[in-house]
């Protein structure tokens, strides 16, 4: 279904932006893709539409901006209800569990992953790596609980937690290569390994997840930019 007035301000490399695109693909909603260059100064549009955080993604629907990827996902799920799958379960308890695990990805797992990417010292990286690996084991457990034997956290279909975690798969691979470790390993997290393959191959996902080499190259540039910004000035 073609929709006018649906716009995504973001960048191909951001997992948070990927979440929004996957959700729109799931709902068969077409949108305008506006690219923000993360290595350049922030655009007028970004500063105006997200004055509080000045971050992407910003989702526009009928000129109304919505920020924060998980909030955007919930909005998309509530507005486009005619399509095949619901992103969040309808049962209140299951809904709360999906929200809990998506929040875990954002509040615990992602920060550890980020620390692993930008870790300046060997010690920082070692500590971050331990946290990330522990996180994958916790998520393996969550997968067991939520999937109930099916292919996705959402069951038969991709859901909220699948999108929240799956959007990180490109970065997980890039950062893993950088550390010469498989962050989602067959040994510790066999179910997640299988899930990752299913998720990446899904119709709504495969064109959104970026090429890993392109992402690795971008990762180096981004890391340099972040470390430069964090460096003490004389």
């Amino acid at each position: 279904m073609a929709e006018s007035n649906v716009k995504v301000l973001g960048t191909w490399a951001s997992p948070f932006v990927m979440r929004v695109k996957i959700a729109l693909h799931l709902k068969s909603v077409s949108y305008e893709d506006v690219e923000e260059d993360l290595l350049a100064p922030k655009s007028e549009l970004l500063l105006k539409s997200n004055p509080v955080y000045k971050k992407i993604p910003v989702f526009f629907h009928a000129h109304n901006p919505i920020c924060e990827s998980l909030i955007i996902l919930q909005y998309i799920d509530e507005v486009w209800t005619t399509s095949a799958s619901s992103i969040l379960p309808s049962d209140p308890y299951e809904r709360s569990q999906s929200r809990f695990w998506a929040a875990y990805v954002d509040d615990k797992f992602f920060p550890a992953l980020r620390r692993l990417l930008i870790g300046a010292t060997e010690e920082d990286k070692k500590a971050a790596l331990a946290e990330v690996v522990e996180g994958t084991v916790v998520l393996e457990g969550a997968f067991g609980e939520l999937s109930k034997g099916k292919a996705f956290f959402g069951g038969d279909n991709i859901g909220f937690v699948d999108i929240a975690l799956g959007s990180l798969l490109g970065w997980i691979e890039v950062i893993g290569k950088q550390c010469e470790t498989k962050l989602v390993s067959e040994a510790k997290t066999p179910r997640l390994v299988q899930w990752a393959d299913c998720f990446s191959a899904h119709e709504a996902v495969k064109d959104v997840l970026p090429d890993v080499d392109k992402l690795a190259d971008f990762g180096l540039k981004l890391r340099a930019k972040i470390l430069k910004a964090l460096a003490p000035t004389n």
Binding site: V52, I66, Q74, P92, Y93, R95, S96, R99
Partner: protein
């Protein structure tokens, strides 16, 4: 069938106060169990093994953690009165945005204010910036939720009982910088029993903060 609702609580916690306000608004009967955060109960560790934190709402034996997730759960299950979230999806997204903003900012910054370490001045500045941003968002409305309190009011008002502690530890006045916000907090307490009953007196919070500072070797 009678619903069994249990709240794992810690009386000074702003996050737990949110849940109490919501349960009060909906008229839900519940059992409140005080936790000692320095000596966590088996029940807490079992009900929230990932974060080991309060509040936890246990509804008919099933645990829900994370206060904003609990609020959304309560709003969905007990939808007969006092809606916490707007029904319009866009309005709902905005309410969730601000509730999330409060989560990201107030607790962490407030903590740096009352702890009184080297970053206290910076933290005071940041706190006032955040509260001013929220005050602008409130605008001329009675409440963040409009004519009635909503999720943003419920998310923020508990922290106002900590204002006295922030002000005393930081030697500054929040009312001077944010008079409308302080007026809004008074309005919530005066007009909503669920709020006045859930919030301990600011002096009690201050006493708790001073004890905590002693325990942490900051005083």
């Amino acid at each position: 069938m009678e619903d069994e609702v249990v709240l794992l609580d810690f009386w000074p916690s702003s996050f737990a106060m949110r849940v109490k306000i919501a349960l009060g608004e909906k008229g839900i009967k519940y059992k409140c169990k005080q936790e000692d955060l320095f000596n966590k109960s088996t029940l807490l560790l079992e009900m929230n093994p990932i974060h080991k934190k309060i509040p936890v709402l246990i509804h008919n034996g099933k645990p829900i953690s994370e206060s904003l997730i609990i609020l959304q759960y309560i709003d969905q299950v007990w939808n007969h009165k006092s809606p916490l979230l707007p029904s319009d999806p866009y309005q709902r997204s905005q309410a969730l945005f601000w509730a999330d903003y409060i989560d990201k900012k107030i607790y962490g910054i407030g903590r740096r204010v009352w702890m009184g370490k080297e970053d206290q001045e910076e933290a005071k500045e940041e706190l006032m910036q955040c509260l001013k941003t929220l005050e602008r968002e409130l605008g001329d409305k009675l409440y963040f939720g409009g004519q009635n309190i909503g999720v943003v009011d419920v998310a923020l008002v508990p922290f106002t009982t900590w204002f006295y502690s922030y002000e005393t530890c930081g030697n500054f006045s929040i009312e001077a910088g944010c008079p409308k916000l302080v007026a809004w907090a008074k309005r919530c307490k005066e007009n909503y029993r669920s709020v006045s009953e859930a919030l301990p007196h600011p002096l009690q919070i201050y006493e708790y903060v001073m004890e905590l500072k002693k325990r942490l070797g900051l005083v």
